[in-house]
Symmetry: D2
Subunit: 129 residues, 4 copies
């Protein structure tokens, strides 16, 4: 079952081409990941405080299929594709109604406070599975 | 021969993890593309005015290899991998000194003023080859 | 009566100091203005298409009173202070619960498609009063 | 004597009105402050590590006089207006050639690692005077 997150296109998101600037889809899907993780009962602030661990994107494959415009109402759909001890692979798509605008495969890893790859805390891994 | 573009990491680029926010690498490589295109003698403003055409990213594959930090001096290296009538495929890497931090393959297409894929203007295509 | 708009602090909003980057409050209050204007029945896209007019910020006075952090739930409260034929002066405050974090006075003008100051369309002015 | 800092307007900086999004001038002047501080021999990373202190904006007054556009070459001019033990007041103007586009008065304070106002480290204060 996909996780759904709605977001709205504001002035800040557009560029002079009149469409959403390409980097801003990454902001949208990161907001969706934060809400998805929270919905699973994971507190990222507590995780950082307790384990010194943050999630970080390791790899991103993204297709820009159709542009989003100012004032569009968008939905980000997130679903888990794979989880191992060290990484999570997600599909994250951005839709405007029935139109798929953006489709990404995002690989996340856990990073320690020094920025090095870390093992995901066991309780976090259980919640994600 | 690669095109080189330097950029500096400012406060605006970092997030609370103390590293460059992942979407911001897309801003860095887009700055580099703008300078690369200008260096080839292509005026994007004139291209838009004359042909109603802008470049847009169609696909992105990105590996985040090592984090960049506040005050880092970065270099974006851009090189053409392939050009057809409709699209350009670029390699764009971000380095801090001898350390590769971020590596992307970016597929660009031309978009008309209505946001539909367009054929690249012939003179632009010649300049890119 | 104030207009209220909620927004959430995501990773993208923070900087390495662990707080919301100062420019991002301007994004929050601009989202609030967009929703406030929409709530008044003004369609900014139609206004641009019909009259070639967009709203632009002419002056900003902002006090940063207390920092917002990752995952904070914020409320932007917007109220009109003054309206003339050429400009609107708004108060826009950002709250976290009962704590005032940011307080701004924003002066808006209408700009033509060439970026010059323009008279606000009469129907828009009526809706704002 | 003013400190000068050049920056270029990229796609990321513009919005659908075809001009620089209003919050982005705050990014430009913050880049200029970082370079100004570095030019004075102050290492913000060391200051944070040694004293747990970061600079933060406490108040901002900004006039938006004329819009900047894609591909503009801008200069930020920074000069000290006043320094006390607790705060620095700066004038920061953004120019395109001989045209003043944006003019700000920025009040900075030192913040401790908990986000509370702190006294500026004595050595830093000396360097700023």
């Amino acid at each position: 079952m996909d996780h759904s997150f709605n977001c709205h296109v504001y002035y800040e998101d557009t560029d002079l081409a009149g469409i959403v600037y390409y980097a801003n889809y990454l902001r949208y899907i990161e907001r969706a990941r934060t809400e998805w993780v929270r919905g699973l009962g994971i507190d990222q602030k507590a995780m950082k405080a307790a384990d010194g661990v943050v999630f970080a994107v390791r790899r991103l494959e993204a297709d820009y299929l159709s542009p989003a415009h100012f004032d569009d109402e968008l939905t980000v759909r997130t679903r888990t594709q794979a989880i191992t001890g060290a990484r999570i692979v997600l599909n994250q798509d951005v839709w405007r109604g029935e139109t798929l605008l953006f489709s990404a495969v995002v690989t996340l890893v856990a990073l320690s406070s020094t920025g090095q790859p870390a093992r995901m805390p066991a309780n976090i891994r259980r919640q994600l599975q």
